[in-house]
């Protein structure tokens, strides 16, 4: 894999990011005059409105707005402010760790589980294991995460009372140290379980299909003919090749990973980015929605880039090609 490969990918990512920025910019400007929104909230006089307009660069033509105000602000990490004066970037930044904890753990577990199940199912196609896990994977894949979360709440939280129904931690009497870790884990268990199972179906199905594809390739037969042990064939030859689509699939699935997280955070009232997004919609907080939209887009672009580079390392065709 050459430096030019990486460079091309990075460049492509930048161009995509630019497209998103332009898209975002125009999307939100079509909503009407933001000054009026703020003005009636704070009962401004005409002079004050003009001053605000100037401050927000709204008195200039769109192109100038984009280059002189919007972009420089973004480069400084300033995503603007909400109508009530909060800084959007801070709001988003504060929530990232919690969502990362929940979604990151779930994705990791789901990937490991899904890949493992997929390998086994694809290798022993037609076996009982394969048939059971196929249906299970498909069912979990078809179950929206927020629904699964609600089912779990009904059974484990509301009926059996084993886990708390919502939240991130016991807010009133905060705990510290190890007790705090326990507390968070306790609250994290159900939402994480929900997301893990919800995501797992995709990985398992993709891995299985990929295994079947590779198994049918000539070189597998060749390896077997050479007398290499089954397990070796599987682990050294088939699996590494079958893993490649997982990387691409993960990235394509990213939009659904985000959506799943939003649904689950909403159902469990887990105070992460997902819940922030729903709150922003509820209060029609346009500045915040704009910031979140940018953030999610950027995340997907970065994920794509990482996947491309990873593929560059892993896929022998690119690596040596």
């Amino acid at each position: 894999m050459s430096a030019s490969y990486i460079l091309k990918r990075v460049l492509a990512a930048f161009v995509t990011l630019l497209f998103i920025l332009v898209f975002n910019f125009f999307l939100f400007r079509t909503l009407g005059d933001p000054v009026k929104l703020i003005a009636r909230d704070q009962q401004m006089s005409v002079d004050e409105q003009d001053a605000l307009r100037k401050q927000l660069c709204l008195d200039r033509p769109p192109l100038e707005q984009f280059t002189q105000c919007y972009m420089p602000q973004l480069l400084h990490g300033n995503l603007g402010q909400t109508a009530s004066g909060d800084d959007v970037s801070t709001l988003i930044w504060d929530r990232i760790p919690k969502t990362l904890l929940l979604t990151g753990t779930a994705t990791l577990l789901a990937t490991i589980m899904g890949v493992w199940v997929g390998i086994k199912a694809g290798w022993k196609r037609g076996s009982r294991f394969d048939r059971w896990t196929l249906m299970t994977s498909m069912t979990f894949y078809s179950t929206p995460e927020f629904l699964l979360g609600m089912f779990f709440i009904i059974v484990f939280a509301a009926w059996l009372g084993w886990f708390p129904i919502s939240g991130y931690q016991n807010v009133v009497t905060p705990t510290t140290g190890f007790a705090h870790v326990l507390d968070v884990l306790n609250h994290l268990f159900l939402p994480c379980l929900t997301l893990t199972l919800g995501y797992f179906g995709e990985y398992s199905l993709v891995m299985r299909a990929s295994m079947l594809d590779v198994v049918a390739e000539d070189f597998t037969t060749a390896s077997r003919a050479k007398g290499i042990r089954e397990s070796e064939v599987r682990n050294r030859h088939v699996v590494p090749n079958a893993m490649l689509p997982i990387i691409t699939a993960s990235v394509l699935y990213f939009g659904f990973i985000i959506a799943g997280a939003v649904g689950v955070e909403y159902v469990f009232s887990y105070p992460g980015l997902g819940l922030l997004t729903v709150d922003a919609l509820d209060s029609t907080n346009l500045a915040l929605l704009e910031g979140l939209f940018l953030f999610f887009s950027a995340a997907i672009i970065v994920a794509n880039l990482v996947a491309d580079v990873l593929m560059g390392y892993v896929d022998p065709r690119i690596r040596y090609g």
């Binding site: 704070q42 084993w162 886990f163 919502s166 016991n170 306790n186 009232s269 105070p271 907080n285």
Partner: protein, 623 residues
Amino acid sequence: MKLRSKIQATALVAFVIASFASFATPSLAQDASPSPATKKITFVVGTTDDITTANPFAASTTSTDYEMLFLTYDMLQNYDPATLTAAPGVAESYTANADGTEYTFKIRDNQTWSDGKPVTAHDVAFTYNFIMQNEGTGAFTTYLGSKDAYDPKTTFTAPDDTTFIWKLKSPSMAPTAIPYIPILPEHVWSKFQGVDAGALKGYDAMPQVSDGPFKLVEWKRGELIRFEARDDYWGGTPHVDEVVFRIFENQEAEVTALKAGEIDAMNGLTSDLFESLDGVPGITTLAGKTPTGYNLALNLAVTDHNDPNWPGNTYSWYTSTSTGSPALQDVRVRRAIAYALDKQSIIDNVLGGHGTVGDSFISPLYSWYSPPSPEYDYLTTQNMEKAKQLMDEAGFRDSDGDGVREEKDGTPLTFDLLVLANNDYSNQSGKFVKEWLQELGWKVNLMPMSGGSINQRWYKSDYDGYIWYWGDEPDPNFMLSIFTQAECLNWSDTCFTDPEYERLYKQQLAETDVEKRHEIVAKMQDIFYDQAPEQWLFFVDDLQAVRSDKWEGFVHIPEPNGGYIYSWGPATYINVQPKAGGGTTSGESGGTNAFVFIGIGALVLVVLAFVFRGRARKAEDEG
């Protein structure tokens, strides 16, 4: 291979040991909690409404905003918790001159701010002047006697530390009413002179300097709000050390927390959840009568915004022409709409029966309420035939048989009905109203949205109707004002105007004889009944639940059956104390933390079992 399986075996053993160890730790965690002697007495309230800001000028949106102000600030006169009439606040007493143009308030000399400085008449004068002179104080200006009081002849002065004088241009009863204005410390706010108060940022520094029974010391947005009791409050030291508002995303979580003892009180329950708490040991439920009423507002703003007489022209942020259906200008149509509504059915189905049918905009809890005469039966009973008759009379018929009536020029009658998406009462009432209006022959577009969005459309006069609510105050002046022309695009739901009503409004404002004033207010309500600019759907009961097994000293505001919290004052917070043997728990809902480890331990064991089985099978494969 042997080495590998040894390592795996060790790992398995380690996992098992770790799991058992973690079973033991929950008990350790509990022991680590502080001993009772140093524990604070905390009263925890659950709510789904966060405060908007700590800035009093902008804290006028959510119910918790108002509750926060009651907890932290005194007003010139406070509400007597039992009767909601005027009681001493920052002012101990007042006298008025003969013609009601000058009121002298005696300011108490034993009140301090939470930072230790004394509260004086200068703070009062400063506050009132600040409100009149600065931008962004619209939340409070109306209490200073409506826009007519914006006269240079109205002055607020403090000749010495304990005397505050309010002089008015003409006779007015305004100073006798409890002005819902928190008194602010001059030494903190004077630096904001000349600034748009509503837009102040950075006024979130904790703790806040205030003069009420509590002070605001912590605000974690979306999570909690913490108030500390003050031991130097003139009205008595609260029995609790602190009051914490814990913010929930939804009511189920709140109810679970209440049952588990994590919170001590909550309000605003849906009727379903309220019923489910009935009879639960340790919990007392209360359907508190409130003066909060939900109304169906109709857009009566004129469609020609270039009309120079229209108040909208004085507001610079107004931009568009009203989109209110012209049919609404006809009083017969408005009465038809009223006839189409079955308010009792809404109460039964949406409020679970916990409410009172609304006719006047003034709550029947207050003496100012004057019931309608029987000819205005559309206010309280449904009569779909009469409703349809009136619509026909007014000339709106369904000529093409599609179920929707048309205007004279053939445009179908459409009704954009805005409701608050997150407010059950508004949202669900809207569903009923929509179906009835559809039966009446309107094409209804039900639009649930946030309060902010409704506000936007309201300022553009872009709606036909919306369902919102008002919390009536004990003095009727404010509610009366919202039907005046001056309040169009400020507080008026409808932009309704009536010359006789305007005249009566000014009259009651200046009337210092209480009985005469009652008569005037009654006449104004008659005009409201007759013209039906909007329909008051119902007055709600606030469904509350408290942990009566742990706490005592709850106060009805007002007596005899008003709510304990989220009413008109901090009396419950001041008075409440733990029952012997009670106090707060740090108990966590959802069992102990042990289940996490059962769960994780089980998963780990399952995974390891699979791995080992797989290895065993593989051994069979090979060979």
